[in-house]
């Protein structure tokens, strides 16, 4: 019963957040977007503006994202081995 109430509350929270985001309607164009689209190919040589952003304009973000993946994989390996040894006896 308590779990059901919590689940319903969380669902309502999701719906409220989604509704508020829908009302606000994020901007689909802006000065930054037009700058990226118009200058991506001449700046970076990439026809795909997404590649221009994640490999050139925001390359630190990509490096740290790869680091994040590496660390999470190390954590998965570590915890899966630890759990095994604890359950053994």
């Amino acid at each position: 019963m308590r779990r059901t109430i919590i689940a319903v509350l969380i669902l309502l929270l999701f719906l409220a957040v989604g509704y508020s985001l829908m009302i606000q309607s994020a901007p689909v164009s802006g000065p930054l977007m037009e700058l990226c689209l118009s200058r991506a190919q001449s700046d970076t040589g990439a026809q795909n503006a997404v590649a221009a952003i994640y490999l050139d304009y925001r390359v630190f973000d990509t490096i740290l994202e790869a680091l994040l993946l590496l660390i999470s994989i190390i954590a998965v390996i570590h915890f899966s081995r630890q759990e095994d040894t604890h359950h053994e006896p």
Binding site: G45, A46, N48, E65, A66, L69, V76
Partner: protein
């Protein structure tokens, strides 16, 4: 662990392997020009290891090798991207599209190794390795 593998299953997996590989390499190689990129292509390449488990569950890939390759490729990405992407060194030696291709390739191999490692660890954990 004496599960018999259906020949239909292993044959089917063997048949779709080249297409998965081709699709993953296409996503990585075309990352600079078409939708796709290193992360997506690497995730597709990782499904090769996952479907390999269906066909050959008793011959898992070596986890140590996968770990070493992943760490090595992270270091490669770090040096390559910081030399070329951040500081824009050696601009004449390497055209920009080559930089994008090599960076996508490094990210793809790294993500492929990482996701296959996670999959292998989950398999090992579930079977009480």
């Amino acid at each position: 662990m004496n599960r018999d593998i259906s020949p239909i299953l292993s044959l089917g997996v063997g048949l779709i392997h080249p297409f998965i590989l081709l699709f993953g390499v296409y996503l990585i190689a075309g990352g600079a020009h078409t939708p796709g990129g290193g992360f997506q292509g690497g995730a597709v390449l990782a499904t090769v290891f996952m479907s390999r488990y269906i066909a050959l569950p008793h011959h898992p890939p070596d986890e140590q090798v996968l770990q070493w390759v992943e760490k090595l490729f992270f270091l490669l990405l770090l040096t390559f991207a910081s030399l070329f992407g951040v500081y824009h060194l050696i601009p004449a030696a390497l055209p920009r599209t080559t930089y994008l291709f090599i960076a996508n390739l490094i990210i793809g191999v790294k993500v492929c190794c990482g996701l296959s490692l996670v999959f292998q660890r989950f398999i090992g954990y579930e079977s009480g390795e």
